[in-house]
């Protein structure tokens, strides 16, 4: 019984501290950005570079850009993947797109950055980009004959052209500014501009009660729920209620609840950026540079959103809300379960299996990633747990690369579009490349200098360039222009 209680307590504690501490300044803007990307970036502005007559040095980066900008959910990933493969640039760019999408999209990027640290986010993106293109090229080399056959078909799907409107670009850029101002831990943002006291006498008692309910151990990397955290959790619940009423039918027009939900979301961001310290005799409120920067950035978002066409901003809010519905509940459940599991796993196990940056450790991490399936983004709190339990960053990166790329769901989907043989090759390539990425990153963390790192990455790039040239040579030789 006590064991079960301990488990539940671990789950609740991790959920509460997570909601209070991590989610807001990064995920709330990220949902809005993801929605804006889906609704406001015309797909044709990127897909025009994915037609079959585009040269490879354009189509591969374009495929990666599509993965990062257009593919925030499976609604786009599958059809676009199939489209690029069958009617567009071929299997290479299609695979690059597929591989880069789960790691390069805005949600994954910001979430990895806020939970695991910016260096992990950068390593994940750079490695996924590099190896995504690498795996794409490898697949194109292995199956170049099929591409020749597909190339014979006509292609109108990628002929359409479009550019992103000024207002939409403004909304996107200012939203990114909100995200950056909310998460960056740099000087003018963290400085306190002004403080004042609110005469809330119950604040200190409430704080004490919270710590009593949710005891935490700083040494184990656990976090408690502060007074501010509890305020934020209440605000989040209010948003959930109002958003349900205000955003569920947003495509038919906004209502009072819509504005209430949006206002609450803005308030939540501002409160999260303040410093709230319960003191004897009241609550001390510290206005930070972050609060001011966020206020300005959110005003700018409002300014540009005003210029959007009615259909556009409705679609934007709908997509943002859809992401919240689709991802948030699963993410919370995932965090809860991770908090429970953490009570059971002994650090020694992780230490022995993947405590150092070796080939077997990386292979174990990749194997775990392939066989475990976590819903979108849940791989990140799982990775955080492993990191806290003593996993080496190298194998951890290998796991982070393999897990979202090779879920059962994505394998089935790939199999439907490209067939079993190619799927097997893809899975093998991902496993291999993930292990390499883990080894390289791990070596860098262990103190490998810039020179060998640049040399290794340069070598990989040269190899990729060489294979590209060979591929084009082969294709020219078989298909007379």
């Amino acid at each position: 019984m006590e064991f079960v209680l301990g488990l539940l307590n671990g789950g609740v504690g991790s959920l509460a501290s997570y909601l209070a501490a991590h989610v807001l300044l990064c995920l709330l803007p990220a949902f809005f950005i993801a929605g804006a990307m889906v609704a406001l970036i015309p797909k044709a502005s990127i897909t025009r570079w994915l037609g079959r007559n585009t040269p490879a040095y354009v189509s591969y980066p374009a495929a990666a850009a599509a993965g990062s900008l257009l593919a925030v959910c499976s609604c786009t990933i599958v059809p676009l993947f199939a489209g690029i493969y069958r009617k567009g640039a071929g299997i290479g760019p299609a695979i690059t797109f597929l591989f880069f999408a789960p790691a390069g999209n805005i949600m994954a990027l910001t979430y990895t950055g806020s939970i695991l640290g910016p260096e992990f986010a950068i390593a994940r993106v750079v490695m996924c980009l590099l190896f995504g293109i690498g795996i794409g090229l490898l697949m194109a080399l292995l199956f170049w004959r099929d591409d020749v056959r597909h190339d014979a078909q006509t292609d109108t799907l990628f002929a359409e052209q479009a550019t992103i409107s000024r207002a939409a670009a403004g909304v996107l850029l200012t939203l990114v500014a909100v995200l950056i101002f909310g998460t960056l831990k740099l000087w003018p943002l963290t400085a306190t501009v002004a403080t004042f006291n609110l005469p809330l006498l119950w604040a200190q008692d409430w704080q004490a009660t919270l710590f009593q309910w949710m005891p935490f151990d700083v040494a184990k990397g656990e976090e408690g729920v502060s007074f501010q955290g509890s305020v934020l959790i209440v605000l989040l619940l209010l948003i959930a209620v109002t958003a349900w009423k205000g955003l569920e039918n947003i495509t038919e027009g906004a209502n009072l609840w819509t504005w209430l939900a949006l206002g609450l979301a803005a308030t939540t961001l501002l409160v999260a950026a303040m410093g709230l310290t319960p003191k004897a005799g009241g609550l001390e409120v510290a206005l930070t540079g972050r609060v001011l920067a966020l206020a300005v950035a959110m005003w700018a978002v409002w300014h540009f959103a005003h210029q959007l066409a009615v259909d556009d901003w409705r679609a934007w809010l709908w997509e943002a809300w859809r992401f919240v519905k689709q991802i948030f509940a699963l993410l919370l459940a995932g965090v809860f379960v991770v908090g429970m599991v953490r009570q059971v796993i002994r650090p020694e196990w992780i230490e022995t299996l993947a405590g150092s940056n070796t080939l077997p450790a990386n292979a174990v991490a990749v194997g775990f990633g392939v066989f475990m399936y976590f819903p979108t983004l849940v791989e990140v709190p799982v990775a955080r747990m492993f990191l806290d339990l003593g996993m080496h960053p190298g194998p951890l990166l290998a796991y982070l690369m393999a897990d979202p790329e090779l879920s059962l769901q994505s394998m089935l989907m790939v199999a439907v579009v490209i067939g079993r043989a190619k799927t097997a090759a893809y899975v093998g390539a991902v496993a291999l490349f993930s292990i390499c990425a883990g080894l390289i990153y791990g070596a860098w963390v262990d103190g490998l200098g810039w020179a060998p790192l640049t040399l290794t990455l340069g070598l990989i790039l040269t190899l990729m360039g060489g294979s590209l040239a060979w591929l084009r040579h082969r294709q020219r030789a078989t298909v007379p222009a």
Binding site: A39, K43, C75, T76, V78, P79, L80, T251, Q326, M413
Partner: protein, 78 residues
Amino acid sequence: MLTVKILGSGCANCKKLEAVAREAASRANLSAEFVKVTDMKDIMAYDLLSTPGLVVNEKLVSSGRIPTVAEVQKWLAV
């Protein structure tokens, strides 16, 4: 008799699109047959880059977004 197809693997947007399309049909007093196409191969037979897709009498009228009820009514009326 109209045939309206909803293309999509069952994600939230496809359900929403179906609701919008049904609403449009009933507002316009049209009887239409609704078909949900969830198989990826069948979906890819239409030229679209993102689901959900709406097909009226075998013609793809919208993809990758949720149209308004008024828009769908227009497409159904043709």
